[in-house]
Symmetry: C2
Subunit: 195 residues, 2 copies
Amino acid sequence: METILFDYLAKYITLTEEEKKILLDLDVFKQYKKGSILLREGQVSDFGYFVIKGCIRSFTMVDGVEKTTAFYTEAESCEPLCKINKKPSTSYVACVEDSILVVANSAMEVEVFEKFPRFETLCRLLSEELLANKKAEFDEFRTSSPEQRYLNLLNTRPDLFQRVPQYQIASFLGITPQSLSRMRNRLVDNPSQNS
Amino acid sequence: METILFDYLAKYITLTEEEKKILLDLDVFKQYKKGSILLREGQVSDFGYFVIKGCIRSFTMVDGVEKTTAFYTEAESCEPLCKINKKPSTSYVACVEDSILVVANSAMEVEVFEKFPRFETLCRLLSEELLANKKAEFDEFRTSSPEQRYLNLLNTRPDLFQRVPQYQIASFLGITPQSLSRMRNRLVDNPSQNS
DNA sequence: AAGATTCGTTCACTTAAGTTAAGAAAATCG
DNA sequence: CGATTTTCTTAACTTAAGTGAACGAATCTT
């Protein structure tokens, strides 16, 4: 179980056994059942989540309708906005599947940074990389049609279609479930511009 | 001129005079004329940009058409993806106006981190905050119609409409210039749901 | 100031997404 | 296993965005 976390971190720095122990001693591995809500609108929470196994999603409620804004699966991490800006959350975070997560708050991070200063470099690099990736993903979204976004998601995250209800994928693509259903028919009837 | 930079940084940590001097000694303030291209598709560059005065934008070329993906104005910073992943850039960065920028690369950052370790904490916090903001902005985009995005941009960055050609704003909103022009007419004829 | 280019608007037409509603299919739960 | 709830699909209609083309206005250039 820890190996998923340490393999992920190994891309940035190699941890010593002692450093690994510091992390494990924090007792950050938690299990959640499908449907568990980790963060609610209005809450101010300090916790971030790293997915060991399973899938979590964030969404907002707009006029009583869920709008899914992100999916996080194995080796991805979710840092809610309210953790950074300390304001009540405007979104929800919930488990799409039974999940095992690393759950940590800012106090735990500071504790680790003190015992183990290299960890802050790691977090900086990680956060810079996540930012760069998020920008690239946003650029892609901004410059694509719903159909291109759908085909792109099929290529980049095919697993999501097996794990997640379609209406959640639809709002993730910025369209209604009806449009997604219709679009898929269009594409099988006329499989022209699939990449 | 430096005050814009230091005021910005003051939100995160208060710099000593000595620390300020270290930054100024790097000689990072540069002037560019409107239209200057800072980064081209295919280049691998290590530089990031912080806007002191002026406006820069990033865009990609898709089938010979520019797609604007970001505008950066006073006290905003632009870290191109190629700086992080060291791969050839897929996008351009250019000056929309005559601009004064802080231009710095990774080597300069490392130099500062060594002389002045608190700067790394600052960069981590900054980068975490930028990531959180980018996610929020993306969420907003994803869950809005083009019209809502336009009204939202009018509220949040009204200055852009004075500084930037409309066809660039159109692709920033994810639509064509024709659609934007049409939409504005619709809204003045029928000023119903403006916030 | 004249000429060239860029930019914004308009128009007619096509295509796709939103909306509302209904029902089928699948998953969940007792 | 059957009942209930959730999810997906289909359909008819409405609305808005994409496309291609044309033209005038604004802006650069020299």
